[in-house]
């Protein structure tokens, strides 16, 4: 029997033991959601609930991923489990793509349909006689002046940063497969650094928008789509950078082998996904 198990990799599949972390995650999200509702509606105690939930969530993620990393390093995952992880991560990224698709859909709808419609003869006759369709637009009732974000300043630099981080992570992957550990860690470090630089520039850009361009989240539909799309993207870059840092620490601890490093690849896929979303943002939010 033991022999068949080694000759046939699909002989048994790793089914983990019961563990309390999932329900802890649910409790954490429940606290955070309740806290957020309280904060949004100016009730007391909201922040405490959010903080509590967030701490529980961090602890839970730490323990759950800790358990998974332990199992991985103990060699419990074979080829069969590896295929599951690959499918799982691919479909997760697909769901993220669809999340962004919803917001891109809102952007296209606004630009192609709702703003031109608000300047149609009907709207002009009945509601807003002086509104003309143009993009960027904050809508017919927005009276303040604002400037849109120019594409060829910081955003273009950020495009370069993210694209090069895609290259560095690929080099790191190649180094891992060639078992060149120093190069692996170095290029992974470059990737994280480029991601952090991107985030720093993004924060600068937001500051610039708020203080000098009078461009805010509440600046009509242009402000809404601009900040929500770039904001959610920035949030995903933050997550990606945190995951890359974890992978970097694991590399320094000597984890991963040239033929066994799915966690690395999953994070690299995620990073490329974040990269591609940025290209969409750069073209449709900043440039065109």
């Amino acid at each position: 029997m033991a022999q068949t198990a080694t000759t046939n990799p699909r002989q048994h599949y790793f089914v983990p033991q019961p563990m309390p972390w999932p329900i802890m995650g649910s409790i954490a999200l429940f606290c955070m959601a309740t806290g957020a509702v309280f904060v949004f509606n100016s009730h007391h105690g909201g922040w405490i609930s959010i903080a509590l939930g967030f701490m529980i969530l961090l602890y839970m993620l730490f323990r759950w991923f800790g358990a998974v990393i332990g199992e991985s390093e103990a060699g419990k995952y074979g080829k069969w489990e590896d295929v599951s992880f690959r499918w799982g991560m691919s479909w997760f990224i697909f769901s993220e793509v669809m999340f962004f698709a919803g917001f891109f859909g809102a952007l296209f709808y606004t630009r192609v349909l709702s703003v031109p419609d608000l300047a149609s003869l009907e709207s002009q006759a009945l509601l807003w006689p002086n509104f003309t369709a143009h993009w960027p637009s904050a809508g017919p009732a927005f009276s303040e002046k604002f400037s849109p974000m120019a594409a060829w300043g910081l955003p273009a630099v950020n495009t370069l940063l993210l694209l090069s981080s895609g290259v560095t992570v690929t080099i790191a992957h190649w180094a891992l497969k060639e078992n060149k550990r120093a190069m692996l860690s170095l290029f992974l470090f470059f990737t994280v650094a480029l991601g952090v630089a991107f985030l720093a520039f993004q924060a600068t850009e937001y500051g610039h928008a708020y203080s000098e361009l009078n461009l805010k989240l509440s600046t009509g539909v242009y402000g809404s789509t601009f900040f929500m799309l770039t904001g959610f993207h920035g949030f995903h870059v933050t997550l990606g950078a945190i995951m890359l840092s974890v992978i970097l620490v694991r590399c320094l601890l000597g984890h991963f082998k040239p033929d066994h490093h799915f966690a690395f690849e999953a994070v690299a896929w995620y990073w490329h996904f974040v990269d591609v979303v940025w290209l969409g943002l750069f073209i449709f939010v900043y440039w065109l």
């Binding site: 089914v15 649910s26 949004f40 479909w91 809508g139 017919p140």
Partner: protein
């Protein structure tokens, strides 16, 4: 066998036969990674939510027993219609079919468990917390949102903090669905026993594979829609505000991009259950297996390009109306293929009419009726007349109750012997079927007449001429509700004192859970893949 025992990690040292892996009591259920435990929890959770949503429906029907305002005020009436919809869709029907998926998919494809057993646990345990957030909204200032389950802007922007609780509940429900779906897809694609090719899988697995794909594709879009609602409410964005350049109709587009596939998310697993039950009691293989797979895929693909048939009256250009009308009517073709195949399976079969088969035939007749009224509603000129009337309510309850719920009943009676090792009471089961069918039609068939006569939905009052049909409908609703207590009694009686079930109580059943596993199915099944011919 040692290789097999290794799958349990360290625990096999203190005994592989400790079925609960170290935790006892309540903690067993909270921490479990077993697909059968999790499936059971999904099914019980969905039954509890079914009762909760059903009680809301009964309050609604009580108010509508007679014209005028008797029991509830209009605001609370609106909160009830909203919560009834959300609870039934996200709390009752969807978890019920995920429960079936958990129990059956690993057994039907010969897998040891779901691909991601711990994530499976989390998918379930998000639900009670999401349901709590929904219910908390009733107790906030202003109460639960009274916006309808579709949560249209700009009404949602004007609600109290109950709306925010509902939005976060939807987020958690969405996370649960996405994780559950990724798990199901991965299990089906990667965990099949050697020899179990995709085109040999039981139809139930196929319908769930496609359902899970739909869920992963559209739940994030719903999350985006409610997130935009949240920021419009609290952070000054203008997605759904025309003054800021947005559009309330944009919400409807995003919502129904999720909402129409959602109909198939509910219906496809129901089709899967029926495709297992009808062949078993016809003692014939499913007619046109391959065409069934293609029809299911075609429905899934078409479901992405028909969403605006819910929006014909929003001032859409005629070209838009025509496109969405033609695309919608196209869905009748693959759906017709399915109905044809089920009927052809029964044709010249050696039929017997145990309770699962009765529910399946009830499904077939009433789903066809609901499909036809859907076809009628897909036609722009008629829909403009019937939009937001009781005709629409009647239509989708034929799909949601007579199709989805009846197929869930069919499935529960069908697999209960395998799950519990006991037989249900056949006489009581038949009573459950006939009472459910009669009362169901009493509630909803008459609503077609109300709708055609122009009675608007989501209104607690109505003119005198609608009273007769409304009274019949309300009496039917109470009958239907009480009948479901009989169902609870049947299930509990089966578990506690049912007769011992044979391994294969249904002569015509041929999937792995019947042919390769005893009744009840052991806690761990197929740790080593079954040998398939």
């Amino acid at each position: 066998m040692s290789a097999v025992l290794d799958t349990h990690g360290q625990a096999h040292e203190h005994g592989h036969h400790d079925q609960h892996g170290g935790y006892g009591g309540v903690m067993r259920w909270i921490t479990t990674t077993n697909h059968k435990d999790i499936g059971t929890m999904y099914l019980w959770f969905s039954f509890i939510m079914f009762i909760v949503g059903g009680v809301m429906a009964l309050v609604i029907r009580s108010e509508l027993f007679t014209p005028g305002l008797q029991i509830v005020n209009p605001e609370f009436f609106n909160q009830l219609t909203t919560m009834h919809g959300l609870v039934m869709i996200f709390g009752a029907i969807m978890p019920a079919f995920v429960g079936f998926a958990n129990w059956l998919i690993p057994m039907q494809i010969g897998a040891p468990d779901m691909a991601f057993a711990r994530m499976n646990n989390w998918s379930f345990w998000l639900l009670p917390f999401a349901a709590s957030l929904l219910m908390i909204s009733f107790f906030t200032p202003g109460g639960a949102p009274g916006v309808g389950w579709t949560m249209y802007a700009p009404l949602t922007v004007q609600q109290g903090m109950g709306m925010d609780f509902t939005i976060f509940a939807v987020h958690l429900l969405g996370m649960s669905s996405i994780m559950g779906s990724i798990n199901i897809i991965t299990t089906i694609l990667n965990m099949r026993a050697p020899g179990m090719t995709l085109m040999k899988m039981p139809m139930f697995c196929w319908t769930w594979l496609i359902t899970a794909y739909l869920l992963v594709a559209v739940m994030p879009v719903l999350a985006g829609a409610v997130t935009m609602t949240l920021t419009d409410r609290h952070f000054g964005t203008s997605f759904f505000n025309a003054a800021g350049g947005g559009d309330p109709v944009l919400y409807q587009h995003i919502f129904w991009f999720f909402g129409h596939p959602e109909v198939y998310i509910i219906a496809l697993p129901a089709f899967g259950v029926i495709s297992q039950v009808i062949p078993a009691f016809s003692r014939k293989p499913l007619f046109g297996y391959a065409s069934m797979v293609y029809a299911t895929s075609a429905i899934a693909i078409l479901s992405f390009i028909v969403w605006a048939h819910h929006m014909y009256t929003t001032g859409m250009p005629v070209t838009g109306q025509l496109f969405f009308m033609y695309a919608t009517t196209l869905i009748a073709i693959p759906t017709g293929v399915k109905v044809f195949n089920w009927v052809a399976t029964m044709w010249k079969g050696s039929l017997s009419f145990e309770t699962p088969m009765l529910f399946a035939i009830g499904f077939l007749l009433m789903f066809t009726l609901g499909g036809f009224s859907g076809l009628i509603l897909s036609l722009v000129p008629i829909d403009i007349q019937l939009q937001d009337t009781y005709y629409v309510v009647a239509h989708f309850h034929y799909v949601m109750v007579a199709a989805a719920l009846f197929s869930a009943f069919a499935g529960i009676y069908f697999w209960l012997p395998k799950w519990t090792g006991k037989m249900y009471d056949e006489t009581l089961g038949k009573w459950h079927f006939w009472l459910s069918t009669i009362f169901f039609n009493m509630i909803f068939f008459v609503q077609h007449f109300l709708g055609l006569a122009g009675m608007p939905r989501r209104v607690p009052d109505y003119p005198l001429q609608f009273e007769t049909w409304n009274r019949i409908s309300t009496v039917g609703a109470f009958g239907f509700g009480l009948t479901q207590l009989l169902f609870l009694y049947i299930v509990v009686k089966t578990i506690r004192s049912g007769e011992k079930a044979p391994d294969k109580p249904w002569e015509g059943a041929d999937s792995l859970e019947w042919t390769h596993l005893p009744s009840p199915a052991p806690y761990h099944s197929f740790e080593t893949p079954p040998v398939l011919k």
